[in-house]
């Protein structure tokens, strides 16, 4: 029966490894079976990025918006405010008429569930801050939304099998296997893509203190030089990126530079029509992430829900801009906290060297075992080969990733797998010296060696689990291989070799144990 189990597992392992051998699922391969062993970024090349979401910025953005809303609400209730400021996580509204204080507090408590009043002495000012619950909500929301947007961008970027997932309280992990141009990927993923439309100040107005100064970027098409300019803009944002329903790049024509054509949603189309209609002859600045891309003059009212964003782009930039506009703006800026890129050629080198050292190390051990233990050594080698087969099959079945330290882990398993058979063989030698029969020698050898084998493998397994728990990336890969290897080691060394001995004993061929 045991023999049947071992044989069945051997067949199963061989089947599981078929896709790995062919480098992909062969034609007509059943879908429920796993594909080939996945290679880590260090072996196939690629980029591993960890982004930190700047949640504090998301919170202060919300605070700014709340201040703006408060101003509008107060105006509609005819409560005079001399100023509304945000500072230190608080919105402070300065009342023109202190008698209206109660009215303002009522407005806040009724219409601003996110804000809680801060009681303080000054009677002419009302101070509020975000409630802890809403801060938590904003944090989680910013992270989830960023994750979703980054995932969309990565998907549109067209990488095979990317990984985008949350990591810890404020990080997002992005893995792009086999990517050729990490700089471009980084530029796309990390772009906040906050789109804003603001009016450029009228000519006579430029000394007005309420205006803001924003940097701009302009390309001279004839020379290809990018120059930096400054714009005086009215502070109010007329429209944001949320009015866009789709965006696509347009190549250069004889008249135009490459540009991005955007479709507006219903609300956006109406706003756009109103704004352009009311401001014919003025310049409308189009800002991306706080930089003015272009400031065309509004020639006429633009209806129909379609607009174009022109600016100093080449076609590639227009394509990338369309991509980030389609996927939406990140709710908060993200910063790269960790970045690892492995070029494809190093990956190939690593695989080659890994396999060479694996084969050479393995061959040395195999030869040594046969020389030292004769027939028992051949059996131990059989266990070793089976062990490698099982280990690879389990890796494929679990969809685990094989990394360079993972290969090292396999080489190590190879070295340590010998240990179990050495323990058994040494015990058998001891029993033979006592002059026992072959059957008794084998039985006692396995039985006596088992506690030591289990103890030693359990302790190493413990360190493997800890490695998995604390390790990241490649170290995790090492831990996975080590742990799987320990399980397959015990099985192949204790069960599989025993099956062979039992078979030999049952055939009465075994008079003496050759060890």
């Amino acid at each position: 029966m045991r023999m049947g189990l071992v044989a069945a597992l051997m067949v199963l392992a061989a089947v599981l490894l078929v896709p790995t051998y062919f480098g992909g699922k062969p034609e007509g391969w059943p879908d429920f079976l796993p594909g080939p062993i996945r290679l880590g970024l260090d072996l196939q090349g690629g980029t591993h990025l960890v982004y930190t979401v700047d949640v504090d910025k998301a919170i202060s953005n919300h605070l700014e918006r709340a201040a703006e809303d408060l101003k509008n609400e107060a105006k509609s209730e005819q409560i005079g405010l001399s100023s509304v400021t945000t500072q230190g996580g608080m919105v402070t509204a300065q009342l023109s008429d202190p008698a209206k204080r109660d009215a303002l507090e009522k407005v806040i408590s009724e219409r601003f569930p996110n804000l809680s009043l801060v009681t303080e002495g000054d009677s002419s000012a009302v101070r509020t801050k975000m409630t802890p619950a809403s801060i938590r909500e904003i944090r989680d929301g910013a992270l989830d939304q960023s994750l979703e947007i980054i995932r969309n961008r990565v998907d549109q970027f067209g990488v095979a099998e990317p990984i985008v997932q949350r990591q810890g309280a404020q990080d997002i992990l992005v893995q792009l296997p086999g990517i050729q141009d990490p700089e471009r990927a980084k530029a796309l993923i990390g772009k906040t893509a906050a789109l804003e439309f603001k009016l450029v100040a009228k000519d006579g107005d430029s000394a007005n203190p309420g205006l803001i100064t924003v940097a701009g970027r302009e390309l001279d098409r004839a020379t290809g030089r990018v120059t930096r300019t400054e714009y005086k803009l009215e502070p109010r944002t007329l429209m944001g990126g949320d009015i866009i329903s789709n965006a696509r790049p347009r190549p250069a024509t004889q008249l135009d530079a490459p540009y991005v054509e955007v479709d507006l949603n219903a609300r956006g189309a109406k706003i756009f029509e109103d704004v352009t209609g009311a401001n014919v002859g003025r310049r409308l600045a189009i800002m991306l992430d706080g930089v003015v891309q272009s400031a065309p003059v509004i020639q006429e009212r633009i209806g129909g829900g379609r607009a174009r964003i022109t600016g100093s782009f080449d076609f590639k930039e227009a394509r990338d801009l369309a991509l980030v506009l389609r996927t939406g703006a990140l709710p908060a800026p993200v910063h790269a906290a960790e970045e690892r890129t492995v070029g494809p050629s190093l990956g190939k080198d690593s695989i080659r060297q890994g396999i060479i050292s694996f084969v050479v190390g393995g061959a040395l051990v195999v030869v040594f075992m046969i020389v030292y233990y004769k027939v028992a050594g051949v059996l131990a080698d059989f266990a070793l080969v089976l062990n490698v087969l099982f280990l690879l099959a389990v890796l494929a079945a679990l969809g685990a990733t094989l990394t360079l330290p993972g290969i090292a882990g396999m080489v190590l398993t190879l070295g340590m797998a010998v240990d179990a058979n050495v323990l058994i063989n040494e015990r058998m030698r001891e029993e033979m010296r006592l002059g026992k029969t072959a059957r008794a020698v084998i039985e006692a050898g396995y039985e006596r060696a088992l506690p030591a084998i289990l103890d030693s493998n359990v302790t190493t397994f413990l360190s493997g689990i800890i490695l998995f728990q604390f390790g990241s990336g490649p170290v995790k890969g090492f831990a996975v291989t080590l742990c799987i290897g320990l399980v397959t080691t015990v099985f192949t060394a204790v069960v599989a070799t025993r099956v062979v001995y039992d078979y030999l004993l049952s055939q009465r061929r075994l008079q003496n144990v050759s060890v």
């Binding site: 790269a336 060297q353 050495v422 800890i466």
Partner: protein, 303 residues
């Protein structure tokens, strides 16, 4: 074939004081090396910063590489030979700019000096300060936690003194391995931590097997003194110990010489750690078990 003839009796227990002195010297040397190097040579995983692994088509002089990067203003750039000819590690300190942003100017500067296509950037690793600190804490926690867990396992499976013996041996092994890494100025990164934990696992492996035999022999012959039981147990398992360590070392040597430069430090740590680990399970762990016994006897005889 047999390496250790049956009936071999080497007096390991009798040599334990010389061994103690030897271990003491090794540990002091490790600590001194660490002090001399100013602590472990943390790689970017733990210190933060950027490391670039570059390969030149025609191996240049290291001074030329340094010269090419003199104009790139990222503070203290270090350039280091990396195994094969024409391969260098360029290390950039943490800078105010975003993680990873420093690598492009360096690549551009190298391409400008040596010509496009002459320089290949094989690998860039960049770790921000927060992540670096995080990884460092996790690594220390991992080594400490695994040492404690193994001590507890041995305590439950055997006796407290075996657990303590193993823990002492582990601290011994890790200290000496870290010292050996510092001696050759290998960079201390996540992969090395993986190697250290493997050393811990392997060393315990050895210790467990000897402890197992000690326990078995204690049941068999209750009359004999613990010292002689420990001695015969070590002798009986000696051929297994040598064989297992020997085959493991064979494999590690293959890794060391053929595994490529990326895995060099890893293989070196394993090599030192396995040898020291084997030594310590014979000369450190068992004598500690013994010390508990003599200590206990000393107390009882006084009473």
């Amino acid at each position: 074939m047999e390496l250790i003839k049956p009936g071999t009796t080497i007096d390991f227990v009798g040599k334990r004081f010389s061994a103690m002195a030897f271990s003491g010297v090794l540990i002091l040397a490790s600590l001194a090396t660490l002090a001399w190097r100013g602590g472990p040579n943390y790689g970017v995983d733990f210190s933060g910063g950027t490391v670039m692994h570059v390969r030149f088509a025609a191996p240049p002089a290291i001074g030329d590489v340094r010269g090419a990067l003199a104009s790139v203003e990222f503070g203290d750039v270090t350039i280091q030979d990396f195994g094969s000819p024409g391969e260098f590690l360029v290390r950039l300190p943490l800078s105010g700019v975003e993680t990873g942003a420093a690598s492009k100017p360096v690549a551009d500067a190298l391409a400008a000096k040596f010509g496009a296509g002459q320089v290949e950037v094989l690998r860039v690793e960049s770790v921000g300060p927060r992540v670096g600190k995080d990884l460092r804490q996790k690594a220390i926690l991992a080594v400490v936690a695994s040492t404690i867990m193994m001590g507890i396992y041995l305590w439950l499976r055997f006796q407290l003194r075996f657990g303590i013996g193993a823990a002492v041996a582990l601290i011994h092994d890790v200290t000496i391995t870290v010292g050996a890494l510092a001696l050759l100025n290998y960079e201390f990164d996540l992969t090395i931590v993986a190697a250290l934990l493997t050393v811990v696992g392997f060393s315990v492996n050895d210790t467990v097997i000897v402890s197992d035999r000690i326990r078995e022999n204690m049941r068999k012959s209750r009359r004999e003194s613990l010292a002689s039981i420990v001695n015969s147990s070590i002798n009986e398992t000696l051929s297994r110990t040598i064989l297992t360590t020997g085959t493991a070392v064979l494999v590690i040597l293959a890794l060391f010489f053929l595994g490529g430069s990326v895995i060099h430090g890893f293989a070196y740590a394993l090599l030192v750690g396995f040898l020291v680990g084997t030594y310590s399970s014979i000369f450190v762990a068992s004598p500690v078990v013994l010390a508990f016994e003599t200590g206990a006897r000393g107390r009882s005889s006084k009473r």
